[in-house]
């Protein structure tokens, strides 16, 4: 993991003092609401439906055990004993008091954390694959590049008042993109050129929200040393020319569309021509320094076929199921990557209590070199677990209620806080998620259905990423009533696609039946071994529509 240098530490401490001063001036009236708003947003502080919400940054989703303990501590002392992990790999506290926000930031600074740029029209938290650095299918570890971009984008003075928010994601794998890079303002996908040079394919203009778009390739191969020069060129073109007259048309995707990809690319390349090969290039020494922070953890040799582990697999069905769904291959033989499910039926997706956070921190120390990751599917990941420790870890995870064996299955659904908390939402999402989880609680059925992503958002801002769910649910408002629109066919990864609306929207109570109908069509039509989304792509939407609407739609 990256360890703060003196400059990083001083920055987060000075930031607390700066924000405390701004908060004081706001509370005593010297700083107006309009002037304070961007300042508090750039420190992650929203004014929400019930109380202010504080969003804390978890850079590229990586946490140390002591940091997770601090989050638990904050949840207990400043919130109602829990936090919500988001699709941007951050954590939100939904019940903080406005005037206490600086104190919380001070607590965070003591463990090298902050809330800088978790909101506002600036470059947001960088995200990546939660399996980065340990995935068996990775080309190279994207985290050193995430850290470089984190540092560069933190308080980048030119880019703190962009037309709109700006999200960047990295992925290190070629086959499997677990960071949804094609749905970011900038996405960077690891590439190694024929001559061995390391770099990235760069996507631009992807995003969800009310105008969802799949990002387009702006450069097939960008050598890694040009990363910041090129990002700066993109950001500068966007900062100067992005629309500022309408916040719904202010994201970079609209600029790319207006200029056409070719026109936008020309602007960026002209801008880049000024800096290419110049002092903004990242030096080899910097890469080495950053890579050293993320150097492979010193794995003690561990047998892949530990007898105790094999015996547990044979003897304990629940354990075997958990291993099947929640344990992934690790690049190191004898090790595994373990996903802890924050999707237990009846618990709002992504929520974790202070006790659970403390418990996970302890398990991470015992079994995962003290490291935890947050995935954009709102689960937690222990990245360095010896296979022989899996039975003991499972017992610990089960005791915390985080061992639901549903990773990648229907009930591992992604969901925003929705109308229960968020002042933007048109509809509640958590009760609908709970109804779906309750209806499809039968593990045999879930396992038979296989991989299926269901994403739900409470409004068009799409924090629940409904467009890229195989099944997507969007809360809409019709005459002050909550309705839910269903989309089908969304997908992340190499074959990224946006879901299409299947027809008129439904009342909340109808949603579990609608899902059941969609699943019946799939089960009837699937080929041997074909997953849900592949069946949808093969047979098209009509069969699904006919079933759901009885031919009426």
């Amino acid at each position: 993991m990256y360890r703060y240098k003196q400059a990083d530490q001083r920055l987060v401490e000075d930031r607390v003092a700066q924000f405390r001063d701004q908060m004081t001036r706001f509370l005593d009236g010297r700083l107006g609401e309009d002037e304070f708003r961007p300042l508090r947003l750039q420190n992650g502080l929203y004014v929400q439906r019930h109380a202010p919400m504080l969003r804390v940054a978890i850079p590229y989703g990586t946490l140390a055990a002591y940091q997770l303990r601090k989050l638990a501590d904050i949840a207990r002392r400043f919130d109602r004993g829990y936090g919500h992990f988001t699709t941007r790999c951050n954590i939100q506290f939904n019940w903080v008091r406005l005037e206490e926000a600086p104190d919380i930031l001070a607590e965070l600074a003591a463990v090298q954390m902050h809330a800088i740029q978790t909101s506002g029209n600036c470059i947001r938290n960088i995200t990546t694959d939660p399996f980065a650095g340990v995935a068996a299918d990775e080309l190279f570890d994207p985290r050193p590049y995430c850290e470089i971009v984190r540092q560069w984008s933190t308080l980048a003075p030119e880019f703190l008042f962009l037309p709109r928010k700006f999200k960047i994601a990295f992925a290190g794998g070629v086959e499997d993109d677990r960071a949804a890079v094609r749905f970011h303002d900038i996405g960077a996908l690891a590439r190694v050129a024929d001559d061995g040079r390391v770099g990235f394919e760069i996507f631009v203009g992807g995003g969800l929200g009310r105008t969802p778009m799949v990002g387009r390739t702006i450069r097939d191969f960008l050598p890694r040393e040009e990363l910041l020069n090129y990002f700066e060129a993109i950001l500068r073109v966007y900062n100067r020319h992005g629309r500022r007259d309408n916040k719904y048309k202010a994201r970079i995707k609209i600029l790319v569309k207006d200029l056409t990809l070719e026109g936008f690319t020309r602007e960026v390349e002209d801008e880049w021509a000024w800096t290419r090969g110049g002092p903004g290039c990242i030096s080899d020494a910097t890469f080495r320094e950053m890579e050293a922070f993320f150097a492979r953890h010193d794995y003690a040799p561990a047998p892949a076929d530990d007898p105790g582990y094999l015996a547990a697999l044979d003897g304990e069905r629940a354990f075997a199921r958990w291993v099947e769904r929640n344990v992934s291959p690790h690049r190191e033989p004898g090790y595994a990557v373990v996903t802890l499910s924050l999707k237990k039926t009846g618990v709002p997706p992504g929520d974790a209590t202070a006790e659970q956070m403390d418990g996970v921190a302890e398990l991470a120390e015992r079994f995962s070199a003290g490291e935890i990751r947050v995935s954009h599917e709102q689960n937690l990941v222990l990245p360095h677990v010896a296979r022989r420790d899996l039975p003991a870890l499972w017992q610990g995870v089960r005791a915390l209620g985080l061992a639901t064996p549903n990773i990648g299955l229907l009930t591992d659904l992604v969901c925003c806080p929705g109308g229960d908390f968020c002042s933007l939402a048109n509809a509640r999402s958590i009760p609908v998620a709970a109804a779906i989880q309750q209806r499809f609680d039968d593990l045999d059925y879930l396992f038979d259905l296989g991989p299926l992503e269901l994403n739900m958002s409470g409004c068009v801002n799409a924090c629940g990423h409904h467009h890229i769910g195989h099944i997507g649910i969007l809360g809409v408002d019709k005459n002050n009533e909550e309705w839910y629109q269903v989309t089908l066919g969304g997908r992340e990864g190499r074959h990224a696609a946006l879901g299409r609306v299947i027809g008129p929207s439904f009342a909340a109570g109808q949603i579990p039946d609608v899902i059941a109908d969609l699943l019946k069509v799939y089960v009837g039509a699937r080929h041997e071994g074909e997953i849900f989304i592949d069946t949808v792509e093969r047979v098209g939407l009509d069969a699904f529509k006919a079933r759901v609407y009885g031919g009426a739609a």
Binding site: K5, A7, D8, L11, D14, R15, Q18, Q22, L31, E35, P38, L39, N121, I148, Q151, W152, S153, T154, L155, A156, P157, E158, F159, L160, F161, L162, P163, R236, N239, R240, R244, W274, P279, G280
Partner: protein, 157 residues
């Protein structure tokens, strides 16, 4: 009355901000008045201007390329922030200072607030015409205590 800060000191305002196309600018300049002219006026009148007295100001969507041939002679370039949340001026400042080597006075005008001064300075502004309600003492403090990106080279030297 808005305060003016230049190079870390509160100074008396010396330039008049001419917002549009007003008559007799050449005569006024010849009479010794210090005027900041809109880019369009400045370009149109340039052959007849006393280079020492004619400052120029840019709006956020002005193309600064037209100004480049005369950068060495311009005594003052101001950049207008119609709203403090409009960040285009930061890019213009960065380009003038770092790319095009402008070394004269670079002034922020318009919705110029204490909490953004350090960022403006890091992008190359060295003078600030504060919005009327902004306290000069707080502005001076903000310029001394500004936070910086941890990435080396993020600010204009």
């Amino acid at each position: 009355m808005s305060a003016l800060i230049r190079d870390g000191k509160v100074i008396d305002e010396n330039w008049q901000w001419i917002e549009g196309d007003v008559p007799r600018v050449v005569e006024r300049l010849e009479a010794g008045e210090l005027l900041m002219l809109p880019l369009g006026v400045w370009l149109a009148q340039r052959p007849r201007l006393d280079p020492l007295c004619a400052g120029v100001w840019l709006g956020p969507d002005d193309a600064l390329e037209a100004l480049l041939p005369w950068l060495a002679d311009v005594p003052l370039v101001a950049i207008h922030f119609p709203l403090f949340t409009d960040g285009r001026g930061y890019s213009l400042a960065h380009l003038l200072r770092r790319r095009h080597g402008y070394t004269g006075e670079l002034r922020a005008i318009g919705d110029v607030l204490v909490d953004q001064l350090a960022l403006m300075a890091q992008c190359g502004f060295n003078s600030f015409s504060l919005r009327a309600d902004q306290p000069p003492a707080a502005a001076l403090a903000a310029l001394v205590g500004g936070l910086r990106s941890p990435w080396p080279g993020s600010a204009v030297p």
